[in-house]
Symmetry: C2
Subunit: 135 residues, 2 copies
DNA sequence: ATCGTTGCGTTATGCTATAACGTATGGCGT
DNA sequence: ACGCCATACGTTATAGCATAACGCAACGAT
């Protein structure tokens, strides 16, 4: 599921992406760093530089509300559409989804106010079905 | 007790709120601290504790994507509805707006996936009309 | 009175992110 | 080949954001 061909990733970029892919939830930059120490990673910048590129390629998303990163769930169709995230505050699992209506409404607001969007963040914090039922 | 009236603000809370109110754009916690040093503020925690309460009262919003805070534009009707923000990356100005359709669509997604939302973040980064036209 | 709650002040610490330096590599035109 | 430039990399240091943990003070309720 993960390694389809993209613009060829460098070693560091591939390692960071793999770390995110094999994680069960979002990871902070320092958590990624820790998981890659045995691969030779020594400093945060190595992680951040790789993340910058992966974000640019659309292979990774940044979750602004928790300062963490996830591998894109649909890396094939890297439609640059606005994506929403539902983040479970208990188990950390993230669901990624798009909604054209939401996108349209926000786009309409922007047009009406002559605002030129560059990036839109939509993040729903809460509890997933399993965690909500467990209390 | 989700009543309408919030308790009287403490001195520190009032000072932090005033700092945000009189600012032209969002402020980081340390920027707030700097503006309140001559009022006796010495440590970040004084700011963060006040902010926690102000957020709870709905008098202040946190902008997740820039780690900053703004006074609520409509403090009277602190409808706890989902609010969206448009943030100009050049001049820093923030527009605050609500959209029932967006809220409905996200709420529908949540229901369909049995996700229990606690807080929803919607932030549009970009350039306001004035800044976009200036390049 | 004493207990619990809330706010406050201070010090110390942790987490998140970037600046600034230098090195290495690879493509490309001449 | 050579110089040139762009990109990635490694390292150290620093900036920026946020909380832990201690103790004290004020106040209201039992």
């Amino acid at each position: 599921m993960a390694g389809t061909a993209h613009p060829e990733l460098t070693r560091n970029q591939a390692l960071v992406l793999k770390a995110l892919d094999s994680a069960e939830g979002p990871l902070g930059a320092y958590a990624i760093l820790d998981r890659l120490r045995d691969k030779g990673f020594r400093a945060p910048l190595q992680v951040y530089r790789a993340l910058d590129k992966l974000l640019e390629f659309g292979l990774v998303h940044r979750l602004e509300s928790i300062n963490a990163f996830v591998a894109c769930a649909h890396p094939e169709c890297h439609a640059h559409a606005t994506i929403a995230f539902a983040i479970c505050d208990k188990c950390g699992r993230v669901s990624e989804f798009g909604d054209e209506d939401v996108e349209d409404r926000l786009g309409t607001w922007a047009k009406e106010h002559k605002f030129k969007p560059t990036k839109t963040t939509i993040e729903i914090r809460g509890f997933c079905e399993k965690c909500a039922s467990e209390g």
